[in-house]
Amino acid sequence: MSILVVVEHDRGTVAPATFEALTAARSLGEPVHAITLGASADGLVDQLAAHGAAVVVQAHHDLLADYGPEAWGDTVAQYVGHTSPSAVIATGTDRGNEVLAHVGAILDLPFVANCLSFDTAGAFDTAGAADPWQITRVRWGGSLLEQCELSATTKLVTMTHHAVEATESPGIASTESFAPSLEPWHGRSVVVDRVERAAGVTLATAPVVVGGGRGVGSPEAFAPLEDLASLLGGVVGCSRAVTNNGWRNHTDQVGQTGTRIAPDIYLACGISGAIQHWVGAMASKKILAINTDPEANMVAKADYAVIGDLHQVVPAIAAEIRRRRNA
């Protein structure tokens, strides 16, 4: 038996979460096979071998020239059909979850998304790899955990990002080529066009985020937050109360249904700290809450807080930075 890891890549650039999936796969003690889709990923063999892949399966087909959930799903499902691995592990990302959902649908197998850990409790030593796995997975975008039991001959799971730390396990991988049989209809959901984003700091990667919530009060009142963010080389984020009011675009929303941020410091201004906002902000290295309410959840969970009206505190911080810079 083997474990199959689906390699997430975009036209040959591997997604780092793939190495987490490989690390998790290695922990199961069975040979790890990694499947790459499309010839653009043929150059990934060494990187995959360095993270423990014993065999790299290179799937080649014209319809795999770019990402397409149906073509990827059928390719992986066909390979699973040929080789019956005991598990298929993919990245807990948009693409990883999407591809495994297709595999589950095609093979009528259960699929457990966004796992933190699994206990295979003897499933490999006893007669059947069909024995259930006990899995811990995330719900509510990470605010709640679930333990579940997964029963299937081939277990389909994705690893939630950062659940395991990717580590290397240097080795040499053999390669194997796989030609899926895909029909023209598989091409209907392949990417036809792309619009590249202008380079620059994004909410997800910014070193500083100045977040504004309902307490900001209006779209215009975000100007001092913009000013402070630009002084700090950061960007402005917001809560869902703000986007729901139409004050700012959803691209600025931090949280479960927005963007997950991980800045060096997050300044959360006029944000109460609802759990769905918190899960998007909790990877920040430090959090400073500015809030009139000393009892606000954001204040309780933050590393630092200023109790006061953000409309006074935020401009005062900007003024103090300017004063020191000019001193």
Binding site: D10, P69, E70, D94, N97, E98, A101, G104, A105, P110, F111, V112, A113, N114, Q134, V138, R139, W140, G142, S143, L144, L145, E146, Q147, C148, S151, A152, R188, S189, V191, V192, R194, V195, E196, L232, G234, R240, T243, N244, Q253, T257, D264, I265, S272, A274, I275, K285, K286, P294, N297, K301, D303, Y304, A305, I307, G308, Q312, V313, A316, E320
Partner: protein
């Protein structure tokens, strides 16, 4: 154009999620319920599609009898028809949910003709299984792409759909009938009008009682997520705290 939107009723917790004593559910005694956010946007998108292209939107949910509230909310925004797939007790697993919805869709379509576009939320806010829409699309033999943040019907039965990626936007050109998994941010959902609210009280909610077997994923228990708890350092009160804040920013090296 016939549009179907599938939604899920979920609790709306605030600062904390509390679990019931048996560990099997969220304690909702003091909570309101809402439509899962991605699906709230899917409902708005369904209404806009019908406003732009004519036709009719239908909303469907599999859930407890109380999910009538979410169906009527969708109706108050402009969805014409509503269908409840009633279940009793705990949530169904994703395979079972998808099988029930696919069967119900087949029944609705055999009566009134195919849906040109079926919308799902990308994932439900609570269980986050990331698969019900895909399973339904596969069993109907229709294309599906998830994570959709823009839909444009370009005529001749093609829908252009956009999704965000690490580097920008990906565009898909899909033939109808099509299924799409929608993400929050695709639009800004409207609020119901008074007229819409009153009208929604009167619509008849259809029922299709689902009867399908459980799948291979079984929930055992819910657990609280590990919390980072530590004391909060209060840097001061009001604008006078600015100097202490800037000291901190200097210390953290972000200035």
């Amino acid at each position: 154009m016939r549009v179907l939107v599938c939604v899920k009723r979920v609790p709306a917790p605030g600062a904390k999620i509390n679990i019931t004593a048996d560990g099997l559910a969220i304690d909702t005694a003091y909570l309101a319920f809402t439509t899962s956010p991605h699906e709230e946007c899917a409902v708005e998108e369904a209404v806009r599609l019908v406003e732009q292209h004519g036709g009719e939107a239908t909303v469907l949910t599999l859930g407890p009898a109380e999910a009538d509230e979410q169906l009527r909310y969708a109706a108050s925004l402009g969805v014409a028809k509503a269908v409840l797939l009633p279940i009793v007790g705990a949530d169904w697993d994703p395979q079972r949910t998808a099988a029930a919805i696919a069967t119900a869709i087949a029944e609705l379509e055999s009566a009134d003709g195919p849906f040109d576009i079926i919308l799902f939320g990308n994932e439900s806010a609570d269980s986050g299984g990331f698969q019900v829409g895909v399973r339904v699309a596969r069993s109907l033999g229709r294309p599906i792409v998830n994570g959709i943040k823009g839909i444009e019907v370009v005529g001749d039965g093609t829908v252009r759909a956009r999704r965000e990626s690490e580097v920008g936007l990906e565009v898909y050109a899909l033939p109808t009938p099509v299924v799409l998994g929608v993400k929050e941010g695709i639009n800004l959902p409207r609020y119901p009008t008074l007229k819409g609210r009153l009208g929604s009280k009167k619509i008849e909610v259809g029922q299709i009682v689902p009867d399908v077997a459980a799948g291979g994923q079984r929930m055992v228990t819910l657990l609280p997520a590990a919390e980072q708890v530590g004391a909060t350092t209060i840097l001061g009160h009001g604008p006078d705290a600015a100097a202490a804040v800037v000291d901190l920013l200097e210390e953290l090296g972000v200035l």
